[in-house]
Amino acid sequence: MGGREGACKNNIADVGVAVPGGRGIRIRSCYQRAAFAKVETIPADKGLIYVYRPQAFQGGAVSYDVRVNDAVVTHLSNGGYYPYFAAPGEAQVSAKTEATSSVTLDVKAGQTYYYVKGGVRVGFLIGRPHLMVMPNDVGATEIADCKVIVADKPESK
């Protein structure tokens, strides 16, 4: 926990919860993280994919792992974003709850940005992830209100 606090000490949210008996518990959470900051330097042999999810009421409680070519890169929650450097070539970005959504990008090396937007569609038991590739101008606008997701490696599901 100490490491996590250290990683986001300026972005810790304290949440007080009342419990029967008069005592309360205080939950320290660092899920509220730094606001969007554009990645300025992209390695010459990589392309940059921003995976983001604008804050939304519908499906807001649903979160999911995002994979690139079957490797988990982040856990995408409501209002979060994650920058990922991908190797050139085809990159399949996917997410799964009760159903899978995926898009494939042709990643080019260098200063290239790709915006993959996560959403939630209706499902039987739980909302289904829905990934969309957004035009750069739309993606750049929408991601501005998102908070960065720390790079803790999520457990693979």
């Binding site: 519908q58 898009v103 569609r121 209706v122 499902g123 829905h130 990934l131 969309m132």
Partner: protein, 174 residues
């Protein structure tokens, strides 16, 4: 008996709706005929940096081609989507297959045959795939993109094969 008939009609209606909802539409332009028998292939320097599964199959890589022909092939995929959002969430008929959204990837491919800077032939193809998503279907946009890329590849193969005389003039092989 009468109720049974009505019940069958309703069930049939829902089934038709479900099947219609699952259908994937694909529109490829331009319209071309099938590849004629004995079509030739182009042996040339092929410049292409994408997935070779999507490269027209009547192109053969030959970097030392004496005719000095270079073939450039490229494609682009754009994704479009339409989400019904809360309308689908509160619509009880989504359980019967009414759409919850629509995915519309569009693929564009272009091929140029050049000798030096001179363009000898150019052809393009575009494909739009429309998939209405519902609770019963789960075709991903990756799969739709692949279908679209294969469709434009086939279309450009056909376009190339239509001009047999032209191809034959370029040092070709059967």
């Amino acid at each position: 008996m009468k109720l049974g008939t009505v019940g069958r009609l309703v069930a049939g209606g829902w089934l038709a709706l479900l099947v219609a909802g699952c259908a994937t539409e694909m529109h490829v332009r331009p319209e071309v005929g099938p590849i004629p028998a004995g079509a030739v292939s182009i042996s040339a320097n092929v410049v292409f940096d994408g997935n070779r599964d999507y490269l027209p199959r009547n192109l053969q890589q030959n970097t030392s081609n004496p005719a000095g022909i270079t073939v450039y092939y490229r494609y682009e995929a754009a994704y479009g989507t339409k989400d019904l959002g809360a309308a689908a969430l509160y619509d009880p008929f989504t359980i019967f297959g009414l759409p919850t959204g629509k995915d519309i990837p569009t693929i564009y491919a272009e091929l140029r045959i050049q000798r030096g800077p001179q363009i000898l032939k150019a052809c393009q193809s575009a494909c739009q795939v429309v998939q209405r998503s519902n609770l019963w279907t789960n075709l991903t946009q990756t799969e739709l993109r692949r279908d679209g890329l294969l469709a434009v590849r086939d279309n450009i193969e056909s376009q190339l094969a239509q001009g047999q005389e032209f191809l034959a003039s370029l040092v070709l092989q059967h």
